[in-house]
Symmetry: C2
Subunit: 353 residues, 2 copies
């Protein structure tokens, strides 16, 4: 099967090979306090910094999932007021997380499938943290980065956090304008699930320090200060998913060899093939109307006769695509366009559609 699913997805082609080398090198038996382990993490972190152009000002923290990242960010960056741009299930999950952690979460919500008009002045003045789902996995809406940088300029004192769970490593982020970003490895990196990565800038760390001094509960082992103390020596507070960290480093190495320019170009070519096909199709219709908001990595398509039979038909032909998210389940399909699937595979998928 070729997995075009935007959840856990197709494994990056080299993962099996790296899994074999991990077992041969006894990676799962290594102590997470050993020098060998630190070398593995250092290699992963250094590779990631190069791949995503992450400046030294920003720390890299490992957690267990994107969902955990949301919790840790709210705990460590908000005394009281967070603000959320909502246009789907994952931006809503971020908002919900802030509510559950007893913060005063406010939102600006638009219909699923839509982007935002960032020219409007809607962020309340007292906001500490502004949360964006850069790529809504539930709807295939992607937010243009230049608009976000503009908004940050106008709200320089607020912390800006970016969920790039299903757009990394494709999306290019200028981290000088972003305080926190996070992703999980089972999407664009084509790895087994169970590892999340946070990229955390100095203003967010300072905020966590401020909250800690005030006596606010910022969590225990995974608060930003504890994470930073260990990250500075290429470790984690707890025994982490060592195998996941190793595999991530290896896949990053492969991606660096291929080059991000090539990966981005290929992603855009594959996305263009898919959108062109659906734009011309007589029954299937791209869900996101405004082209500037169309995700290059998660393509959502309205299937007026119902998604079930299309998903079933494709499965019989060796392709796994996902149905729509939540209430969109019956009427949409979602196709992931991650680096793990080749242009040839996308062409085959289109031919069998």
């Amino acid at each position: 099967m070729i997995y075009f699913t935007p959840g856990p997805s197709q494994l990056y082609p080299t993962v099996k090979k790296h899994m074999t080398s991990a077992l041969r090198n006894e990676v799962p038996s290594l102590s997470h306090r050993s020098a060998k382990y630190q070398e593995i993490v250092s290699s992963t972190v250094v590779g990631l910094r190069t791949l995503l152009t992450i400046p030294k000002t920003h720390s890299i923290f490992f957690v267990a999932s994107g969902t955990e990242a949301m919790e840790r960010i709210v705990e460590n960056c908000v005394t009281k007021n967070s603000f959320h741009f909502i246009n789907g299930a994952f931006s809503k999950r971020f908002f919900q997380t802030s509510i559950e952690l007893k913060k005063n979460a406010k939102k600006h919500e638009v219909a699923m499938g839509q982007g935002f008009d960032f020219e409007e002045q809607i962020i309340p003045k007292q906001t500490e943290l502004v949360c964006f789902t850069q790529n809504e996995t539930s709807t295939g809406v992607s937010l243009p980065m230049d608009k976000l940088y503009e908004l940050k300029k106008q709200n320089a004192k607020m912390l800006f956090v970016l969920d790039i769970v299903s757009s990394a490593p494709y999306v290019h982020v200028d981290f000088r304008s972003i305080d926190v970003a996070f992703f999980s490895v089972q999407k664009g990196f084509g790895l087994p699930a169970g590892l999340g990565v946070m990229i955390v800038g100095p203003d967010a760390i300072e905020k966590a320090e401020f909250l800690a001094k005030k006596g606010t509960n910022i969590g225990s082992y995974h608060n930003f200060l504890s994470l930073k103390t260990f990250a500075d020596k290429y470790q984690t507070p707890e025994t982490p998913n060592v195998l996941g960290q190793y595999l991530l480093g290896k896949v990053i190495g492969d991606m660096l060899k291929k080059g991000m320019t090539n990966i981005r170009k290929e992603t855009e070519e594959k996305a263009a093939l898919l959108y062109r096909f659906f734009d011309r199709h007589n029954r299937y219709i791209p869900f996101v109307k405004e082209k500037m908001f169309r995700s290059k990595t998660v393509i959502t398509v309205v299937i007026p006769d119902g998604s079930k039979s299309v998903v079933q038909k494709l499965k019989e032909r060796g392709f796994v695509v996902d149905r729509g998210y939540g209430e969109l389940k019956e009427t949409q399909i979602r196709i992931a366009n991650f680096p793990a699937t080749s242009k040839a595979a996308v062409n085959k998928l289109i031919a069998r559609m």
Copy 2:
């Protein structure tokens, strides 16, 4: 190398085989909301219930680590007062977690290497949660279960939680007397790190419900109520370590085939070999003096001439043992006695000592 380390440790002998079958069956690409995934988790959970004799009253929750379990338990079981029996680094970590989460944590602390006299009445009346590290990985002290059941009877209204991180699956727990227990898979189960398991009884769930109704912050996606909603359908709130859950189920299956009676018997025989050797040794001395407190799964040994050279010597001979924990690093070694290492391997280790 044979890993006798009590952190990440020797992989259970069948893990490589199961890893291959996981990749062949495309387990890492499965959606965590699919029926196939639910079958995997159901098989793991049902197997674990049989292996550890977990009654239906208790739910099984998956988290990322034992350290995470500590945080979730304090968040969900304590309004204000926790009490901790401390005799090493991990019981101290549990206490510290409660402090960090702004609870009123009290403790009864004894020197490293010692157990407790449970006859003494030292638990304050207002205590809500009593925390025990059943097997202190840092010192090799194990607490006798019958004494804990007695104590629970005398303090029936308090929630009793048991850290069995480095004693599961060997330790036999009567869950009718225990409200919460937790372990992580990289120790006694011989699996890659990155997965923790909590076994949570009805009184602990009720406490979480009580706290939630009061408006207390019990965490977001991994609060007990959210975990239970998903666990009831063999799912997790977030995308979890699916591969870890699959491998755990497979190793549990292998352990069930072998039988817990045999595994326990073998563990005790191997522990007896090790303690007998060190009790008779003219320079190496078991750290835990009182035999009733000696762990069967983590054996700590005082090396008066220094641990470094012994660890090095054994490494050259193909055996990895750990040095003492923290301040005991220079003067002790720690030998894990988990099901993954055979009696023959233990005999070899002793012969090369």
